[in-house]
């Protein structure tokens, strides 16, 4: 059972208040596909992902980035029960999408880097710590239903 301090809850909801879902979604997923090119294996239907420019200009990447961010918002709204509320998403990623769970950590790192760019100095070490804890819980929940 994850225990959140009041400060951690405030930090996490604070990040979401400042988040531009379109910007962060596209840039985080885009960077994941650019920096860790093997992740493109999961997006064969997205069309042209051959280089950084085509990835960042790809409408399906932008749309899917927003889907990922909306999923994160669900976790934020269910912060005390992420494991159970994410069970269907975990099953989806395992049974239908067949995503190696190590990739969740890669995307999480990219999300953090883009959030840092967007928030600048407001992304203090304490905010980063709370955010990292939140993403770690989400990543763990997504890997939970694999068997």
């Amino acid at each position: 059972m994850v225990v959140w301090t009041d400060a951690e809850r405030a930090a996490i909801t604070g990040v979401f208040k400042k988040l531009d879902y379109d910007f962060v979604g596209l840039n985080a997923l885009g960077r994941c596909l650019i920096v860790y090119p093997w992740t493109r294996r999961y997006f064969a239907t997205f069309g042209n992902l051959f280089n950084a420019d085509s990835i960042m200009g790809n409408a399906k990447v932008a749309a899917h980035g927003k889907v990922v961010l909306t999923g994160l918002e669900t976790a934020m709204k269910n912060m005390d029960n992420i494991k159970n509320s994410f069970a269907p998403l975990s099953a989806l990623h395992s049974e239908k999408l067949h995503v190696d769970p190590d990739n969740f950590g890669l995307l999480a790192d990219c999300i953090t880097i883009v959030v840092a760019a967007q928030m600048g100095s407001a992304f203090t070490a304490d905010v980063q710590a709370a955010w990292q804890k939140f993403l770690a819980v989400v990543v763990s929940a997504l890997g939970r239903q694999y068997h």
Binding site: N27, G30, R31, I34, V35, A52, I55, M56, D109, T112, I113, V114, A116, A117, Q118, M119, G120, S121, F123, A125, D126, Q128, A129, Q132
Partner: protein, 144 residues
Amino acid sequence: MTNLSVKEKDLVRSFFTQVSGKLDEIGHQALSRMLTVYPQTKTYFSHWKDLTPGSEPVRKHGKTIMEGVKEAVNTIDDLPAGLVNLSELHAYTLRVDPSNFKILSHCILVVLSMMFPGDFTPEVHVAMDKFLTNVALALSEKYR
């Protein structure tokens, strides 16, 4: 061992020149974040009297780390040779578990993204990530 392309080496060198005026701050921020966000890393610094961000040991060591990274940029064409002394230090004296290199690298990237959002483009991001991975590999060369 991944090899950086000519273009990637150029990107690393030019980006590093751009940020070279702020190396001390980058090092301080990255180290502070590592200690705060990944508290298990504090186990390597039990000999410091103060581990809080802003303290003298943290600032000093952040500077030391970035001097090492600068050395790596200067020897980017042959990192294992260029970093042989640092590798021996980390292998025989410090014995830092190599998983921590990844953690510190991530914190450096977060700080670069935060301080230079316009310059830290996706192309620079992948070049820097590859570069830091190579640095970590060179530092673990002598481990076993």
